[in-house]
Subunit: 204 residues, 2 copies
Amino acid sequence: MVDINPTRPRRDSYTVETLLAVTVKVFNERGYDGTSMEDLSRAAGISKSSIYHHVRGKEELLNLAVGRALDSLFGILDEPAAAAGPAAARLEHVVRRTTEVLIAELPYVTLLLRVRGNTSAEQWALRRRREFDHHVAELLAAAVRSGELRADVDPRLATRLIFGMINSLVEWYRPEGDDKGADAEQIADAVVELSLSGLRVPRD
Amino acid sequence: MVDINPTRPRRDSYTVETLLAVTVKVFNERGYDGTSMEDLSRAAGISKSSIYHHVRGKEELLNLAVGRALDSLFGILDEPAAAAGPAAARLEHVVRRTTEVLIAELPYVTLLLRVRGNTSAEQWALRRRREFDHHVAELLAAAVRSGELRADVDPRLATRLIFGMINSLVEWYRPEGDDKGADAEQIADAVVELSLSGLRVPRD
DNA sequence: GTCTATACCGTGATAGAC
DNA sequence: GTCTATCACGGTATAGAC
């Protein structure tokens, strides 16, 4: 008989997937470098050496986590609404979806955003993040050229500030209850509204 | 004869201040936990044990750095333009000055923003940061109540997003050349403009 | 104020039994 | 698939000479 909820780690028998979920939680609490294999074994409820049965070591756990986050983010760029139509509408879609994906994959994206580039695998993650940002900056620049967005703010700078706004979610957002979807909706609205229309009351 | 530039660390004879400058740089590159005393001694050009002559240990260096960043930030709230006048104008001043201070004290604020709360000193730093944010959220809420800002965005959420935008500077901004002040001005303008008016072209 | 030498402990990782 | 036992290494920190 198959387990009803395969994403929740069960004591007695881990898979890489369930072990990863526990691991990422601890990494985010204590930082990657601040987490020892001892910490992980305690959190998972198994011995250190049992962890090595599932993965090569600590760094492999990090790679699996950030890889998953990157896949989710790049998936957004392939969505129809991000690939065709007026540039400003495509931008709005990417901004909204990035916010939603960040919330849906919160632990994994959190870890991705904290990677500093100490190892070569981390540097690869940083390069892919820059690639994603660059793609969005292109979109924003196109919207400026077509007159849909203001020309008096540097597209690169604006892109960075908007991502700063979105990415900062990992610093404070904590899912509560079962209406995580509604939460995400409300926050995504605020992000889109703030970045496109601003806080000031409209004059008309 | 007194040294011309006491903020630049000289080989042969460190002070706590000059040692701190080197330390913070390395902490930001490799992460606090990822930095060993060996790393610090190599970067400073003195032996490990010489470092212990100046400070009690690694954690004291962290405390000194984040304390300095917090002092700079809280100094903003005492400025006249932040303490009196219409709420929206006070908010705009705090947003602009926070951006400027962050750029002026970049290495120290960067370290502050990366603190995760592993030790009690780090938890204290997190509490003070929240205190600062709370103060600004109050300002924003007051501006909403007086009708100066839109009422359809939650003040707490808006505050967090704006700080997210500002704080994200530490992830990518690198001072270049000698016009650091001009840089700061341009970025602060963009932050204020984006958060208050948004990217969309005005309709009037 | 700096050095060399070293104590001591926690770390990531392995061996081999069950 | 998990365990206990153990290893080699690198970490923070200290002692004491110059």
